[in-house]
Symmetry: C2
Subunit: 202 residues, 2 copies
DNA sequence: GAGGTAACCAAGCAAGCGCTAGTGTGAACG
DNA sequence: CGTTCACACTAGCGCTTGCTTGGTTACCTC
């Protein structure tokens, strides 16, 4: 995609860093912790990354890039109906959040730790992702599936989805797809359904 | 409420600390920064607080306590109708988030930095607040205003509301009350309305 | 087999961290 | 007038932080 994350070694290191950043937060993660997790000494870390900030940028780039990829793939491989596409986006978002979890969570919660340059450089990736959402929501609005202000609706939906990382238990009875479907059902103006949203599971 | 935050001096210091914690994050806020903001030297800080952790606990207690107070007041002073109560809760939540903003934001985003004891001690406050939400949502469900799983609906709504701190611009055209009303309209099964949610503002 | 290169290590520096110890202050109180 | 107490100060200790330096190893290439 661009300059960063060339070598496979660096990619693996980035993955490990993401895990630690989620566990401890960026600020509390020391270069020594990162090095130990990677099986090297702290000094060797700076052979792969210019400084700690660059590790964060690499992680966030990876996370956002993946989210964008998964969302695009989901939209491309589903039938062209507003409701289906809405559901597909919600499912893709949660899939990203719970499989490739770490990098995306870092992108959500540590963005402000980026240096201004890195932030500026990466924001176009995030904007591209949000544009996908706005488009899908626009279609749903036009089709009368949902109502409201396009800006507000997309913010609310993304907020509800992003916040799931704070309470969702992957080992619980609900699958990510359950969550996505329930959310879509919640915001849709009822017409056909009513049965499926009430008796979903146990 | 309990042992903490007795003196008015300490209350003022807590307010200043909240502001810095929001601006910089707990980890990046040093005791020297806190002291300077308070107009004293870093050593003097420990006359008021046992350690840095205790400052965080004080801030979070203040924030959660206030949120609970505002929500209770809002519920007490509104008519006893499920839709009105739902709207009142949403408005109260956003009012908390944008007037007493700092302390509540810290409570949301720095909770995991609390020591286990402090977390255990404060979690009952948060639980009490969430219980208010669940009760209001239960009523709305029973009245057929909304549908879905009570647990999921309350999580989604709280997520959407909490996430507003990431994008909402208080100087923009929308008031917090606008946001609250729009959110409630979004999740409600339509029956009466339709007009007001479409043409809210410019 | 000489030269280049990617990956790593040992050692440590300068800065900054949370926090403590010991010492004034001035107002309040008996 | 003497004691107390809340509040603040100075000075700095012991430790951790991100990062640098100079050197070593293993492999690839011509």
């Amino acid at each position: 995609m661009n300059v960063m994350n060339a070598s496979p070694r660096r990619k693996e290191l980035t993955r490990l860093a993401a895990q630690l950043f989620v566990q401890e937060g960026f600020d509390r993660t020391t270069v020594r912790m990162l090095a130990q997790e990677m099986g090297i000494k702290s000094g060797s870390l700076f052979h792969h990354f210019k400084d700690k900030q660059e590790i964060l940028a690499a992680v966030i780039e990876e996370g956002t890039h993946n989210a964008l990829l998964i969302a695009r793939r989901a939209l491309d491989s589903c039938e062209d109906h507003p409701e289906v596409r809405l559901r597909a986006m919600a499912r893709a978002h949660l899939e990203t959040l719970f499989t490739d979890r770490n990098a995306h969570v870092v992108a959500l919660f540590e963005w402000r730790r980026l240096t201004p340059d890195a932030s500026a450089h990466l924001s176009h990736l995030r904007d591209a992702y949000e544009a996908l959402w706005v488009a899908v929501i626009d279609d749903a609005l036009a089709a009368g599936l949902i109502h409201g202000d396009r800006f507000l609706v997309s913010r609310f939906v993304l907020g509800a989805l992003n916040w799931t990382v704070r309470w969702y238990d992957p080992d619980g009875p609900r699958t990510p797809d359950d969550l996505a479907d329930e959310l879509v059902a919640m915001i849709m103006a009822r017409q056909d359904e009513q049965s499926d949203s009430l008796a979903l599971r146990d």
